[in-house]
Subunit: 221 residues, 2 copies
DNA sequence: AAACCTCTGTTGTTTTTACAACATGTATGA
DNA sequence: TCATACATGTTGTAAAAACAACAGAGGTTT
C-alpha cells in the first residue's frame, strides 16, 4: 500500500488516534484492498451484498437510488476521508439500498470490518478502530435522529422552531450562530427558501427571536 | 441478578445468540445494575452525560424533549427488550438530547458498553455482544436513512412514490403489502390522512399503481 | 341479521406553501 | 468608490395540503 495514502488515513474519522504503522498492520490483516475507479464508473450497485466498508482515499463519489419508475434520487456525496456502506457492512442481513458512482478519478480502500472482531486478534489499535466505528455509527445515528425530528414537523413554522430550539440547546445559550445559509437551511428542513424567509420574518415579528443572517437570539415569551 | 430477568435477556436484540450463563458473566463484569422506577419517574434527563446503555427489562418508557419555548415533543416509546441511550453511550462526546420517563412501574438494566472493548477481555460472547450492538446501530441507521428519504420529499405525491418504490425494492416485487394502515402510513411520512387518501386515489387514477387497503401493485408507465 | 365500530375514501373550505419575480442588503475585487 | 455577484427579504398568485365533516366498506359482536 502506498505510503502517501496511508499518511492520509490518520485524517479519517475511522483511523483517528491510530499510529500509521499500526494502521498499516491492521489493514494488512483485514484483507484491505485499494481500488481505482474512473469518472462515472459504478463502485457499488443497489441490491448487492456488502461485506466491506469503503473509505474514500482520493476523489469523491455520489450515492443515489433509482426508483420503481426509473427516477434518480441523489442521496448524498462522500469525499476523501469519509466512508460509505458502513451500515450495510455492519448489518449482516442488509443489502445495499443505493448505487455509488465515482464523480471523478477515485481511489477506494475496502476492508472487512467484521474480521476485526475475531477473538484471537484483540489489541489496543484494533480496539481503537472498533471504538471509532461505533462512534461513527452513533454520531450518524444522532445526526439522523436530529434531522428527522425537524423534517417530520408538519409546518414550516414548526420545523424552524424545532431546529432553532435544538441549536440553542447545542450552543448552551439562547444566542448562537447557525451553520447554514438561508438556502442551506431551507434544504436541510426541506422547504422553499423564499417561503422560509417569509416565515422567519413573521416569527421574528411575533417575538420568537431576533435574527440577522446566521445569528439568532431566541426570546422566551 | 434475578434469574427470571436474565432469562428474558435472550429475547433482546442485544443478547441474541448469547447463552444465559454467558450473559450473566458478561453483565457482572460490566458493572451491570438493575434499577426500579415508579410510574412517571424520570429515568434520564436531557443534557446529562450518559456512559451506560439502558435496556428495558420490564415496563415501558417515553422519550421526549422540551423545547426552548417549553413545548413537549414526544420522540418515541421503548418497551421490554428494547434499549435506549445507546447512541449517547457509544459517542463519548454526546450528551443526552432527550428526557426519559417511566410510563408505568419499570425495570432498567444499565451497563457500560465501552468497558466491553477492554483489550484483556476478548472472548466469544463479548465479541457476539459487540457484534449485536454494531448490528443494532447499523439497523437503526438504515431505518432512519430510509424514513428520512421519504419524509424529506417535498410533496405528498413524492413521499408516497418514494415510500412505495422502497417497499417494492424490499419485497423484491412490484406486488406487496405495506405494514401500515392508512393512518399509520400518514403518520410515518408525516402528512394528513385524508389528504393522503385523496392523493393515493389520484395516483392510482393516473396509473402509478392499483391498491386495496394495504395491498399494492405498482405499474410501470 | 342487526347493531356497532373502525378504517378508508370523498368533498368543500380554509390555510399554508411553493413559485416567480423583483427589491434590498452585503461582501468583494477592480 | 464603483461595479458586480450573491445572499436575503418581500410580495402576489397559483398550487397543494390541512382540516372538517360525512358516507360507505369491512369486519366483529350480540
Amino acid at each position: 500500500m502506498r505510503k502517501t495514502l496511508l499518511g492520509d488515513l490518520r485524517d479519517s474519522e475511522l483511523f483517528h488516534g491510530i499510529r500509521r504503522d499500526e494502521a498499516r498492520r491492521i489493514l494488512e490483516s483485514l484483507d484491505a484492498q485499494l481500488k481505482n475507479y474512473r469518472k462515472g464508473q459504478t463502485i457499488l450497485s443497489a441490491g448487492s451484498r456488502v461485506r466491506r466498508i469503503a473509505l474514500v482515499m482520493e476523489g469523491s463519489v455520489t450515492l443515489f437510488q433509482t426508483d420503481f419508475w426509473n427516477r434518480q434520487i441523489i442521496i448524498d456525496r462522500r469525499r476523501s476521508g469519509q466512508i460509505f456502506a458502513e451500515a450495510f457492512a455492519c448489518d449482516r442481513h442488509a443489502l445495499s439500498s443505493f448505487t455509488v458512482q465515482a464523480d471523478e478519478a477515485t481511489v477506494i480502500l475496502w476492508f472487512d470490518i467484521m474480521d476485526i472482531l475475531k477473538v484471537d486478534a484483540a489489541d489496543e489499535s484494533r480496539t481503537a478502530l472498533i471504538r471509532n466505528i461505533m462512534n461513527t455509527l452513533a454520531m450518524k445515528n444522532l445526526a439522523l435522529n436530529e434531522k428527522l425530528l425537524h423534517v417530520s414537523r408538519r409546518s414550516t413554522k414548526e420545523k424552524l422552531l424545532s431546529f432553532l430550539s435544538d441549536e440553542a440547546r447545542k450552543a448552551g445559550s439562547s444566542e448562537f450562530d447557525i451553520p447554514f445559509s438561508r438556502q442551506e437551511l431551507a434544504d436541510y428542513i426541506g422547504v422553499d427558501r423564499s417561503a422560509m424567509s417569509a416565515e422567519l420574518s413573521r416569527l421574528a415579528r411575533e417575538g420568537y427571536f431576533e435574527t440577522n443572517r446566521s445569528h439568532f437570539i431566541l426570546k422566551k415569551m
